[in-house]
């Protein structure tokens, strides 16, 4: 009962957050100088055509009216047409969203799997040379920019050794008929290796360091000492007693990172020519493609909030004290 109340309170807060977010995003883009026509002005559209185009985009109306129209359409599930592509923003996003999700979620799961295990082991062997070297490496990894790793990997595996493709999602000219064919083939997997490694490498250090710190707290607890006193095996104590408790803060990080991953990684997508969300968002902002930019940021917002909600709920289950307070 308590948990239900806790969840409904969280959901209500989520809705309010979204409303605020929608409003801010809507006006934020319109405050920026310029409009979608100004990006194309050197292609030679005359004054009247520029006005026709603005009218077609619905930008000839006052902001408040535009805002009301936007909200009305949003309730109907219509996010408007992208100015750049002339088709529904949601369609543009859907294509890129799948591409981004498949890359980012894979790499985040890999990063967390490796990060959590390594973090736990380092904390368990705290104070040893192994811990020291491991932590230093983790800190260095955290500081290396993703595009740099990407370029190094590219120059070695693609340009020098020529064993992996240099970018894109498929070999040019590769044809397929449906989504399953698109993602389930060797060609695609080959293209995915380098960007996944790059991205996983970049996101590896955070869960590792958080896990290590969290573990260090846990191993000082009385019940760990109690477990030793009971004569349990070290491996058993590590897995059953320590890691489980220490995982809580890592879950929060996972929620935040997974939510942010929807926005894609602009640099990784650029280096590997990955047709994902990140590049699209940058284009949408610089072309003043309001509907597309709004839809993209809304999606990121919703996903981040949703993952946070899931984390909150998960917390309540993992640690009942959270729901009580």
């Amino acid at each position: 009962m308590r948990i239900l109340k806790y969840i409904s309170k969280r959901v209500l807060m989520l809705i309010i957050t979204m409303l605020v977010l929608i409003t801010i995003i809507f006006f934020l883009f319109r405050i920026l100088p310029g409009n979608p026509v100004s990006m194309y002005i050197d292609s030679g559209l005359d004054r009247e055509s520029q006005e026709l185009l603005l009218k077609h985009y619905g930008l000839d109306k006052p902001y408040l009216q535009q805002y009301i129209i936007y909200l009305k359409n949003l309730i109907k599930g219509d996010l408007g047409n992208s100015f750049q592509y002339g088709k529904p923003a949601i369609e543009v996003i859907y294509e890129r969203f799948l591409n981004t999700m498949i890359l980012m979620l894979t790499s985040i799961i890999i990063a967390f799997a490796i990060g959590i295990t390594t973090g736990a082991v380092l904390a368990w062997k705290r104070g040893t040379k192994f811990d020291l070297v491991g932590t230093i490496i983790a800190l260095i990894v955290r500081c290396i920019p993703a595009f740099w790793t990407g370029m190094i990997l590219l120059s070695v595996f693609s340009y020098k050794l020529n064993i992996l493709p240099a970018g894109g999602m498929h070999t040019p000219g590769h044809e397929f008929e449906n989504i399953i064919q698109k993602f389930l083939n060797i060609d695609f997997l080959k293209h995915m290796i380098l960007p996944t490694i790059t991205s996983a490498f970049y996101s590896l250090a955070t869960p590792l360091l958080v896990m290590r710190t969290s573990m260090l707290e846990v191993v000082k607890e009385d019940y760990i000492e109690m477990a030793y006193a009971k004569g349990l095996k070290e491996k058993y104590i590590l897995n059953k007693h320590a890691v489980r408790t220490a995982l809580l803060p890592v879950i929060t990080i996972f929620a935040v990172q997974a939510g942010a991953a929807i926005g894609g990684a602009v640099l990784i997508e650029t280096v590997f020519r990955w047709p994902g969300m990140g590049r699209e968002i940058v284009l949408a902002v610089s072309y003043r493609d309001y509907p597309l930019a709004q839809a993209a940021f809304l999606l990121i917002g919703v996903m981040t909030a949703l993952f946070n909600l899931i984390a909150d709920i998960l917390y309540a289950f993992l640690d009942p004290r959270v729901a009580l307070s």
Binding site: L32, S43, R47, G167
Partner: protein, 569 residues
């Protein structure tokens, strides 16, 4: 104890560093001052007579390093003349909105593309300099309003006789070269690359390079793999010709749709879908249509489709098409393959800037779509698969991944290749690597000197150079002081180090520009104009002769009883 000592040391170090930095700027100020100060000048200069600060906008270095670097070089030269210059780095969208559209700039640079339709210099000479185009949103960015010029421009636009138009064009170029409202600085060299082991007979044009329509029609495969892989930076946006806005979309649409006439590689108008055309008078053009053309879905292209396209564009107020056919009053069908175009007023560039850009749409497809979607909906219609009648057929398009065009074997001008695979890259570096690795065969992207070093290492890659008829222009704002004064504009232009910009920024791959109509555009360029080139002495002299004065710091002041001279007589 040691901590405080360390902090103290750091503090002392910072103080010393600060101090030395300060003295350094003072020194440079003095050096600049002594260069231009006029010791004999003893008259008291009033603060209100000081020439206002020049506001100069440049792009960020990452967006366009050329405009950034050139902007800094130019502003340094202006400072040496005694002007205060406020250099602002701006995002291009903002600069475009505030400058190109709202005309709120002081000075800024734009790189104007030399598209085929601009070979007839209507855009350069009329649109960019006619007084009525100076209103907000118009292309007369400088706000040039010279009555003498306007009269020439009117004649240039309404008289159909090309030899008279050339005469007017020559005079207009002369006026602009001396009045310098928005002087061209350089024409870049288009430096592009293709794989010479796989393809031959490339045909770059003077403004479009390898993007040129004629390149795709003429290029020949040397191997059995006759699909050409074409790399570009960024993807196309949309394929609805009614609302298209970007040059990249238009290049592709021009391959899928046929137009009535085309502009050939030299800028001449040649018949295309029209078998022939006949200019009856200033307002009437008769067109005879080819009878062997079919749309990609197999239905024949007839006069009905031609008439429909123009009527339809007007009815739904299609922004892109309307901007090309403003002068068109009506299209009438005379016979099986005969049409007559009536203009509402004489408009000489109607063929080169109108008919050559409007692709003929299949009536049977667009009419039914229009009924279903309405006037608003049809403008947002994705139009895929795109059915036209052109030399290339739409096969598929996966946004941000690739687009495939097949060859239309039945076309009257049948391309030699089997198809074009267009692959978008996120940045130019990726293109270079793709060329080197053989992932692509050709690119229309302009190569920088650094990229060329890598390209030159590969034997199969061939570099071609062709000058752009478009140019980097420096737009002054004549609505603002002191740019309203022709003497100031001339002096500022004399201070632009054109050769240094060519050598240092372009690595020699550019030409100094003097006329808004490029030198490579032989048919229209006027070589007998005043050539304002880098000359600081002359720049100072222009200002001195007009009575401008300098104070002991070398700062420039207006003449006594100053009345600005807007244009030379």
């Amino acid at each position: 104890m040691t901590k405080t000592r360390l902090l103290l040391l750091l503090f002392v170090f910072l103080m010393v560093f600060n101090f030395s930095a300060c003295t350094k700027t003072e020194e440079t100020d003095q050096v600049n001052g002594s260069q231009v100060s006029e010791p004999e000048d003893t008259i008291e200069l009033k603060a209100e007579e000081k020439v206002p600060t020049l506001e100069f906008w440049i792009t960020s270095q990452t967006y366009d390093s050329i405009r950034y670097e050139a902007g800094l070089m130019i502003s340094d030269a202006w400072k040496k003349l005694g002007f205060d210059v406020d250099v602002k780095t701006m995002e291009w969208t903002t600069m475009s909105a505030e400058g190109m559209s709202a005309h709120k700039h002081g000075a800024f640079m734009v790189q104007w593309g030399g598209k085929a339709e601009r070979i007839d210099p209507f855009h350069w000479l009329y649109t960019m300099h006619y007084s009525e185009e100076s209103a907000e949103g118009g292309y007369n960015i400088a706000g040039y309003k010279n009555m003498r010029y306007d009269k020439l421009a009117d004649e240039f636009t309404t008289i159909m006789d090309t030899s008279i138009r050339k005469e007017k064009s020559n005079k207009m170029q002369e006026l602009l070269a001396s009045d310098v409202p928005q002087p061209p600085i350089v024409h870049r060299m288009l430096t592009q690359v293709y794989n010479k082991d796989r393809f031959s007979n490339v045909m770059p044009s003077m403004g479009e390079g390898l993007y040129s329509f004629w390149n795709w029609i003429n290029i020949e495969p040397l191997t059995d793999d006759a699909i050409i892989k074409f790399g570009a930076v960024n993807d196309i946006k949309l394929l609805n010709p009614l609302t298209t806005t970007t040059g990249q979309d238009i290049y592709i649409l021009n391959l899928i749709y046929d137009t009535l006439v085309k502009i050939d590689i030299k800028g001449q108008i040649v018949p295309w879908l029209a078998e022939s055309y006949n200019v009856i008078d200033d307002e009437t053009i008769e067109v005879t249509l080819r009878d062997d053309v079919k749309f990609h879905d197999g239905s024949p292209l007839t006069v009905e489709d031609v008439k429909f396209t123009f009527d339809f564009a007007k009815e739904v107020k299609a922004p892109y098409y309307l901007s090309k056919i403003k002068a068109l009053e009506s299209v009438e069908i005379l016979g099986d393959n005969q049409l007559v175009f009536k203009l509402s007023e004489p408009f000489a560039p109607f063929m080169s800037n109108g008919l050559s850009l409007v692709g003929i749409l299949p009536k049977h497809i667009w009419e039914s779509q229009y009924e279903e979607l309405g006037a608003e909906g049809i403008l947002s219609w994705p139009n895929t698969p795109t059915i036209g009648s052109g030399p290339f057929k739409f096969n598929y398009w996966r946004p941000n991944e690739e687009m495939m065009l097949d060859t239309n074997k039945e076309h009257f001008s049948n391309p030699k290749v089997d198809g074009i695979l267009r692959i978008p890259y996120a940045q130019a570096y990726g293109l270079v690597q793709a060329l080197v690795s053989g992932e692509i065969d050709i690119t229309g992207q302009n190569m920088l000197p650094l990229d060329l070093e890598e390209v030159d290492k590969v034997n199969s890659l061939q570099t071609i150079d062709i000058a752009d008829q478009g140019s980097y222009m420096l737009h002054y704002n004549m609505r603002k002081e002191p740019f309203n004064d022709v003497n100031v504009r001339r002096a500022l232009t004399f201070a632009v180090p054109k050769q240094a910009i060519v050598d240092v920024i372009f690595g020699g791959r550019a030409l100094k520009a003097f006329s808004v109509v490029g030198e490579i555009n032989e048919a229209w360029h006027n070589p007998n104009i005043e050539k304002i080139d880098y000359d600081m002495e002359q720049a100072r002299k222009e200002l001195q002769n007009a009575g401008f004065r300098w104070d002991e710091n070398g700062k420039i002041y207006y003449p006594e009883n100053y009345v600005p001279l807007e244009y030379l007589d």
